[in-house]
Subunit: 270 residues, 3 copies
């Protein structure tokens, strides 16, 4: 790996992007991300993949302008970039973009391909492609349309202007704005909660959400089927028994449901 | 009725939930809500159903944990709970949840099944099911996906964290945050306006909204058909004549359209 | 033209609505707007159409109440009004509503038919039709459902209450609230950026957005096809060469991508 570095710890893979000078999505970077993402299909250990950048001002710049042309190589590279977006969207693991810098064009599309995205006051998001005579090529326009509605999407795509993390949260480009000073503890909280889950839990909710957005009734049927199956599991009974023992279905739930969950986990780990 | 109390006044049915100790959705409560909701199908008097709680801290807790299992009785009760959600969604009357306490799991799903939901600073909303090894079972994940988009929904479902009423309004879990001190007058205003309408008006708009969300063109066709039919009614002509007589289509509309409606109503009630 | 005045300048057509006393959507005004909008189909000069009002307090009032009836003429006029909404939605040019006054009923529907809508502190938006015994007839309910979700839409349609520009922005009725004092400079900025584009750019993004909202995958396929075609154009290569020459793919992008675009434009205009 020349453009990304990967570390593994407790089911969390951290991918640090480092493609000087400004983290452009070159074909090398695209290929390395694709290879890693596809390797996760058969990975039984990794639950969460966190994407970060080593660069001080860029999270991830756009697709390498040198491949945006009519040559066979250029068109093939653009298609590989597009596949990278769909590969990330199809991951069974929970993907998280941690954005502390600029993410325009393909960088913005990369962020939106991830399941969750958190960004700081140093982040900037934009899809300025039209000013280079091209549309977005990694679902940028598709995602803008679906996330912010047709009017705000059209304005953003024609202007190509930057959005701050707060604006990006309001427009559903990212999940949440997190001040840089709180980023580490916020991310640690997210990872600690999700790490208690199984990969199949993440997959189940991704499937229900995907189905529900296309068809409300189909989503509702899938959800109920999963619910009835999961209700039968011994694991469910064990958790519920411990949960009730420690104050489930009593007043303690009102103000301290987290405490009940903590005591339940302790009980079960005995 | 052991777990709910129902009062009727001027076309408004008020259902007060009272299932000690903490308003858990037991099979008794589910059955009583289902029986009442289904009885409304042939009700020609009731226009609005308001759901409230007698409990100080809980609006409505989750589905009774004692039925979440693989027994025949447990699975049947879970399915009844799921039917309760779809029954509420299918009501012809306007359903309103007034939430002044905790609504997690099935309680949160109950709130989202209602047409409108108002909540105070005492409210808390969450879908923490995954931490008991199950998904939501009453369309919680379905509604989160459709109301807040896939990223924010996935975060909320994996974390299972509480949302305040203000957060719930921003995420479309509820219609509006209303401070407790203003709740009675706010609700009185809503009821006084909607009480001037007919049940068929509520049904018409629910149908158009439902159709429009699935297919924009189908919704537009339905809306125009209703418009042309309704335009022909004598009632429409009578209102329009009185409306114009009292300043419709003049400058008075700009700053005092409510006053024109008041004068129109007076004129018609002569 | 008796009810609208049209001026053309640098690819921007400005339509000023002036139908005293309060800019009601009379059949004359509807016919003149329809004739103008349909004339734009073969117009190769106009990129942007800005709709403004000459009236001090009304942007555009509702459909003329005198045509809302069961007569043949009334029903035909109502259908013409409905066609006006679909005609505006189908324009290839970028349509912009600049709202500095009241826009209720058909006026609100006109605003939502436009691609972009900006409104000041003097604006008010509402769909109060149900209080005249009719539903919306120009996709008002359809648009409310799709833009603000079923709960907030149902509340707004049953109450018929006014929304301020800030509220309308949050509910996606308009694109953005702009203080009256900043309106001229804001609009000049929008027009100056969009004027650098071609009509086919606007059409392309409208098509991708439209397809994406109906079907995410279909939108993604259309976007990629456009991307690969556009990448082959000489115009694209010329812009990219100049963009790279002036600091594209370097640190300059981080804080001054607008400067690179300015220098790129200068280079290309030599």
């Amino acid at each position: 790996m020349n453009t990304i570095a990967i570390t593994h710890e407790n089911g969390v893979a951290t991918v640090t992007i480092n493609n000087p000078p400004v983290n452009v999505l070159t074909i090398d970077l695209i290929n390395e991300i694709n290879a890693f993402v596809l390797s996760l299909e058969d990975d039984r250990e990794t639950k969460i993949v966190v994407f970060k950048s080593l660069h001080e001002t860029f999270f991830l710049a756009h697709l390498d302008l040198h491949v945006i042309n009519g040559t066979q190589g250029g068109q093939a590279a653009s298609i590989e970039f597009n596949h990278m977006i769909t590969n990330i969207k199809k991951m069974k693991q929970l993907s998280i973009a941690v954005v502390d810098g600029v993410a325009r064009g393909g960088g913005d599309e990369f962020v939106m391909a991830c399941d969750l995205a958190y960004a700081t006051e140093n982040a900037a998001f934009a899809q300025p492609e039209i000013h280079v005579n091209i549309p977005t090529g990694g679902q940028g326009a598709v995602q803008y349309a679906r996330r912010m509605g047709k009017n705000k999407a059209l304005q953003a795509l024609l202007l190509g202007n930057d959005f701050s993390a707060q604006q990006a949260e309001a427009l559903n480009i990212i999940t949440q704005y997190v001040p840089k000073a709180e980023l580490d503890s916020f991310l640690a909280m997210i990872l600690s909660v999700v790490s208690t889950l199984e990969v199949r839990d993440i997959v189940m909710y991704k499937e229900i959400i995907h189905a529900s957005i296309i068809d409300e009734n189909a989503g509702a049927e899938m959800e109920l089927r999963y619910f009835l199956e999961r209700a039968k599991e011994n694991k469910t009974q064990a958790i519920i028994d411990a949960f009730i023992k420690h104050g489930g279905q009593t007043e303690r739930e009102a103000k301290d449901i987290q405490g009940i969950f903590v005591d339940t986990a302790k009980e079960l780990s005995k």
